[in-house]
Symmetry: C2
């Protein structure tokens, strides 16, 4: 591709934003000018790109008409504050925070629902779904017609990096304190996360669900094109720095043909199927730093031949967020380059 795009990355100093900048470089994304942005206190830092250190500037002062495409990799609040401004300036955007209405900014996982791009109009707005939804979609989309899923139960053991850099530091600090038998005074989290599992990765709403659970359920139904799917989701936090682990149980319409499931998974794009005897994938041992979603422990139900159980491991910051956003951008410009450049 000889033409290049001017790009903004909002949230460039975060775990996802920094990975995103790195992936733009790795994949030789056709970047013209790259503007790194962040909100408030993070402005002024610098982030490496193609051998140079780029200064991170305050998003509040940014003129979005300078860029063709913006990645929103900061929190929901930042997307809510600036996405309209970007769109009004004619800038297409890919939001990773989940703050936008799915009707305006549909979820895209290129391996799962590339056809959803067809209905877009400029300036283009897409959502890069939550990391768990990306991982699930990569694994379940190739099985859709085989399973005709009726119910989906997901227990996600999320890495603390899903809560940002401070959470990573805090897990390391707490662990060191405990190993040195020093008294623990939790910071960032309201309790001990080291050598413990926290039941919810965020604050619950009045019904007891956390926003990530609702987001995951809504996104996976859209990504699989299954609005009637009944989703049960629990998003817990494990004392793991990077890499999510998902225990997944699907109730299919009829008895599951496990051989065909294995055949499909072995060929699925973006998926690494681990099933040598007794082996299984893990977040840290397999998925972290990789561009694939890892799946294993493929097995039927203990009591129900229409059940499929799986174990998924995925790099939450890379494959689940930054890479999916960049892959989505690649697909977007493949479809609409001439319109994005005007």
């Amino acid at each position: 591709m000889s033409q290049s795009l001017d790009i903004a990355v909002i949230g460039a100093t975060g775990t996802v934003g920094e990975t995103l900048v790195q992936i733009l470089e790795e994949r030789e994304f056709p970047v013209g000018n790259l503007h790194l942005l962040a909100s408030g206190e993070s402005a002024g830092a610098s982030v490496p790109f193609k051998g140079r250190n780029l200064r991170v500037r305050d998003v509040a002062d940014f003129d979005f008409s300078q860029v063709h495409l913006a990645f929103f990799a900061a929190g929901e609040a930042v997307t809510r504050s600036f996405a309209m401004r970007a769109t009004a300036a004619g800038c297409s955007l890919i939001d990773l925070s989940g703050a936008l209405d799915p009707a305006d900014a549909p979820s895209l996982v290129p391996e799962a629902n590339p056809a959803s791009l067809d209905a877009l109009t400029a300036p283009y707005r897409l959502t890069s779904p939550s990391a768990s939804a990306v991982a699930l979609a990569c694994v379940l989309a190739p099985l859709g017609d085989l399973l005709k899923p009726q119910r989906l139960s997901v227990m996600a053991s999320l890495a603390v990096s899903s809560r940002g850099r401070e959470a990573v530091t805090e897990l390391a600090r707490q662990t060191a304190e405990l190993l040195n038998a020093r008294p623990l005074e939790p910071r960032f989290f309201d309790r001990q996360i080291a050598f413990n599992v926290l039941a919810q990765a965020g604050a619950p709403d009045a019904d007891g669900h956390i926003s990530l659970e609702r987001r995951l359920a809504g996104e996976i139904k859209q990504l699989l094109g299954l609005p009637e799917l009944r989703v049960s989701a629990t998003c817990a936090l494990a004392p793991v720095f990077f890499g999510d682990s998902l225990a997944v149980s699907v109730v299919a319409e009829q008895p599951v043909d496990l051989e065909r499931v294995r055949e499909r998974l072995a060929k699925a794009p973006g998926v690494e199927f681990v099933e040598e005897e007794g082996d299984y994938p893990t977040a840290v041992g397999d998925a972290v730093g990789q561009d694939s979603v890892y799946v294993g422990r493929v097995r039927g139900g203990l009591d129900d031949p229409s059940e499929l159980n799986l174990w998924i491991a995925s790099d939450n910051a890379r494959k689940g967020a930054a890479l999916n956003a960049v892959q989505s951008a690649e697909l977007l410009i493949k479809h609409y380059l001439s319109k994005i450049l005007t």
Copy 2:
């Protein structure tokens, strides 16, 4: 109770066995002579009981006719080797390994299915179920008639102590190595467990299930008296020393009345219901060292009003194993003391 029983504890040097001896003392269980036993290399160690250090002897040399009741808290292999010998000597037994046929040694959780004692004949044989089944039974038994459960999906994040003392040491060692940036050479586990989640707590069978998952499914159906219940179970290992965490999803026969669920849980024996605003129980923060199973995150389905979701935290070695076995023994002698003493 003025009469006392002569007791044997097999596996007295393990995490569960040592806790069991401690609980016999704490609860003033009517112990006459206490014989601490272990297999092979553990014989010769000593374990404290009522201010004395009792020598642990080799179970292979033990004459079971010396005791009224034996707790089998070593592995399945030890139970298989010696349970018959105990029964032949007229000794009643409570097995914690799951090695015995449920038809001969029914599972008992005193809070859940005390009536199952009625059908026993001397010498009495009971199974103290897997720690996850104990925790689930305490929480779900009081809800049985309310929910009429059709499906049960359990994702258990088990503490490494469920794999014994060596696993505890190995998690500590691996964690220290990583924090000190030294290269990791896994022992005991075949890979990194520190800051990671392992998809299976044991070796899978030809169908991909591990024995603990089959055990859990069989036991919970028996404990709840629901042979038709469809159970999906995943038993993973979390980098946690003690305390299991269970994400549970139940599909009920009809829409779930959450208020009545909360009322029942608040009154359930052996259960601590945690539901102040935004609060939830954790294994380490709440359950470890306690005699109750902790439950929280009570919520309905995102898409299905007939679904109930819960989070359970329980001390795997104490409430899930040693305490349940001692409570079972207490109930057994309440029913059958005169026959046990003959």
